[in-house]
């Protein structure tokens, strides 16, 4: 099972990969909003990378 694509190079493409999102953490408890792209500013609590795999079984192309 895979999520995202290493060839993604535009925001529009990234929006299509709904399983891959980022949070710019303010603290470990305050994640802030979920973002399509990498944070564009320093994140005091780190970057939280979510790989949300689909629930249904799928075969690779």
């Amino acid at each position: 099972m895979t999520v995202g694509s290493p060839t993604t190079s535009s925001l529009a493409e990234a929006k299509g990969h709904i399983g891959l999102r980022y949070n710019c953490l303010k603290t470990t408890l305050n994640r802030g909003p979920e973002m399509v792209d990498f944070p564009d500013r320093p994140c005091e609590g780190g970057i939280f990378a979510v790989h949300h795999f689909p629930a249904l079984v799928a075969h690779l192309p």
Binding site: M1, T2, L25, A49, H51, F53, A55, L56, V57, H59
Partner: protein, 153 residues
């Protein structure tokens, strides 16, 4: 990969779910799902989980693994992610961004992931249509599952 210890709040009634921490197994240019047998693979990956991880994996990994970096000793699955690099703004050099592990792991642990198995998604309880099965056998090539109705992999 930054991990936090927060209770997962589900809008639908909570009936099942699984959350556990794994420390780093290794960081390698290997990807047995997308590029089986290719060593090195095109991309670097941060890998956690069972000790049967290999450039090419066939059959049931659970039959070959004997230990895991994850908290669940009943399963020897592997999980891997892309590795993030920081590009220096002036000299252009690349630096691997360190991964912060789940705080529940032993003190001194460096790197890892937190794995969630949830219902259909974070806000919908699809258990009646897709009952969760604990650790069904997963056979490579990924992700064939031989348990009909399972929604884990």
């Amino acid at each position: 990969m930054k991990s936090v210890s927060v209770a997962l709040a589900l809008i639908a009634p909570v009936q099942a779910g699984l959350r556990f921490a794994c420390s780093s197994l290794t960081t390698q240019r290997l990807d047995p799902v997308v590029e089986p047998g290719k060593s090195p693979s095109a991309h670097v990956h941060h890998i956690v989980g069972g000790n049967a991880f290999a450039p090419e994996m066939t059959g049931d990994v659970g039959e070959r693994g004997t230990c895991t970096t994850c908290e669940m000793a009943e399963d020897f699955s592997n999980y891997w992610t892309a590795v993030l690099y920081f590009k220096h703004p002036t000299n252009g050099s690349y630096h691997r961004v360190p991964v912060v592990n789940n705080a529940a792991l032993a003190a001194g642990t460096t790197g890892g992931m937190t794995i969630y198995y949830t219902q259909h998604d974070f806000t919908t309880d699809g258990l009646k249509q897709q009952p969760i099965r604990a650790f069904p056998p997963v056979r490579f090539p990924c992700c064939y599952i031989d348990v009909p109705g399972s929604n884990t992999f």
